[in-house]
Amino acid sequence: MKMKQKNLGHFFTVSMVISLILLTVIILASVFAAYVAPYEQAAIDMSKTFQAPSAAHWLGTDNVGRDILSRLIYGARVTLLSALVVVVISVIIGVPLGLISGYYGGKVDNIIMRVEDVILAFPALLLAFLFVASFGKSITNAIVALGIVYVPMISRLTRSLTLTERNKAYVEAAQSIGFSDTRILFRHILPNCVSTIITQMTLDIGYAILDLAALSFLGMGVQPPISDWGAMLEEGRAFIQISPLLCLAPGISIIVTVVLLNMLSDNIQMYLDQSQRKLPSFKKLRKMAGGLIEQ
């Protein structure tokens, strides 16, 4: 019990708490957009175009009088959900591939690695361009393409984790009991890798947000009337001289979200990597030692 308390103390560092709280706020706002957003995202009001920030419109209005804050909140929904789906696709394909190639090695490993070499030969966004160019411009195509592009990253990570786990005693024990390989891989090895994979996932969501925004910005991601932050940037670009907020609002949202995700990922990694953990403060140490130091 005491052990657990100590771990919790390390886990919640200041930057961890800040990033967790802000990310939760962003996620909740996007999930409950219908209740949080002050206006409908498509509510056009031509009598109120390009308004400066005011009490009624906190971030002002755009070229057809839509409330920027409301569009931002609804946009967050599309942006975050698409990024999450990209990462989930890459995990669903990548993790089993990594487990198999790490556990069995040999020919299977070789084939999987060579196929991934080919995917890695493409800069991430280029493969997405190719998919969208051929199968049509839609957010689904963009998500599927990015999901595939992200597979090698997560798969190679899982593979290297599996390689170290494979030779441990508990795997040998499971093998000698006669458990099936599937059971050993998913019930025994995977749980030991899962924390590192989650760290990578948080980081990947950040990358996915940036890549999806780039696609939407080029008009290859979400199609009107739906819009995400990238599409808002593209729309706002034409009016940048009249109202810079049209670009700044989605732009800053992207930066803040990605910085928060990076912070979160860094902190989880630091927590998992024992060598980087900070020692508890002297006060805490004294408490843990139960007054032993005083004597």
Binding site: L126, F129, L130, F131, S134, I254, V259
Partner: protein, 311 residues
């Protein structure tokens, strides 16, 4: 050394061909019929359609079409654009220099600004200068390149004489058009390279040989530049070259925002108009460049660190 280089080249050749098959295959899987794109969607006579089919080799089986394209790639004939009805190789040649210039100038900025900044941070560790540079670096890393480009345009529009469009007849014009877009493109590289040079330099400054050099009474300038820096540079080269590779995609975005007549803007317009000869050729060219950069990095590595050659 020669054997190592040969081995790496032999590894890359099959990847290049598989990539070309994937690009060709995905482009051909498109539901859009090329004939309608070529004829501009207009009604055409049977004879006109047949003529187009022969001109663009649609009458041949797909494998032959691929082989013709591949043969063209190596002989400088990238096919004919559906929309413009002119040779793709000529269109690419006219734009190649701008994309190359953009990436070259950005890499120059990235290295010249980032490495000194990183080293400065490491030497002045935990001072105000270090903190400011580190925070700026974190923000720059998370800032999408198209956003920095937009912000740069916004800033530059208030400065007289800053023009990104126009002719590229001489070198001065070339630099005038490309310097600001290049700076926008280089930001993420600056941020990452600075961060890595800082970490790497801090690690080296702590090491035993630096201590020995100090004990010998060498000046701290000599220790930093001649001893620690030489060892700290290896991870920096990795990150810098990965970033130069990433700039290939970044250049597409920057060209689009600044309306530069480079390969990237041609690629995007090709995608928008279903002009597949343009799309597949530029795509293969960019992936080829990406592979080549990776190859050069591996070779550079082997030169710097002989241990890698014997793995």
């Amino acid at each position: 050394m020669g054997r190592y280089i040969l081995k790496r080249i032999l590894q890359i050749i099959p990847i290049f061909f598989v990539v070309s098959i994937i690009i060709f295959g995905i482009v051909r899987m498109s539901p859009t019929d090329p004939v309608t794109v070529i004829l501009g969607g207009k009604k055409a006579t049977e004879a006109a359609i047949a003529a187009v089919k022969i001109k663009f080799h649609f009458d041949q089986p797909i494998v032959i079409q691929y082989l013709l394209w591949m043969k063209g790639i190596f002989t400088g004939d990238f096919g004919i654009s559906y929309k413009y009805q002119q040779a793709v190789s000529g269109m690419i040649a006219g734009r190649l220099l701008i994309t190359l210039g953009l990436i070259a100038i950005s890499s120059f900025f990235g290295i010249v600004i980032a490495i000194p900044a990183g080293v400065l941070c490491a030497v002045k560790k935990n001072t105000a200068a270090d903190r400011v540079i580190s925070v700026v670096a974190v923000i720059l890393v998370s800032c999408p390149v198209f956003l920095t480009s937009i912000l740069m345009i916004m800033l530059m529009s208030h400065i007289n004489g800053a023009i990104f469009t126009g002719t590229y007849t001489n070198l001065a014009e070339f630099f005038q058009r490309l310097s600001v877009p290049s700076l926008a493109l280089s930001f993420s590289m600056i941020a990452l390279v600075a961060r890595v040079s800082r970490t790497s330099m801090i690690k080296e400054l702590k090491s035993n040989y630096v201590e020995t050099a100090r004990a010998k009474g060498l000046s701290s300038q000599r220790i930093i530049l001649h001893h620690a820096f030489k060892n700290a540079i290896i991870p920096v080269i990795t990150v810098a070259s990965i970033q130069i590779g990433a700039m290939i995609v970044g250049a597409v975005l920057v060209e689009n925002v600044f309306a530069l007549p480079g390969l990237g803007s041609l690629l995007i317009s090709g995608i928008n108009t279903s002009d597949y000869p343009i799309v597949q050729s530029i795509m293969l060219l960019l992936v080829g460049a990406f592979l080549l950069i990776n190859l050069l990095v591996d070779i550079l590595y082997a030169v710097i660190d002989p241990r890698i050659r014997y793995e």
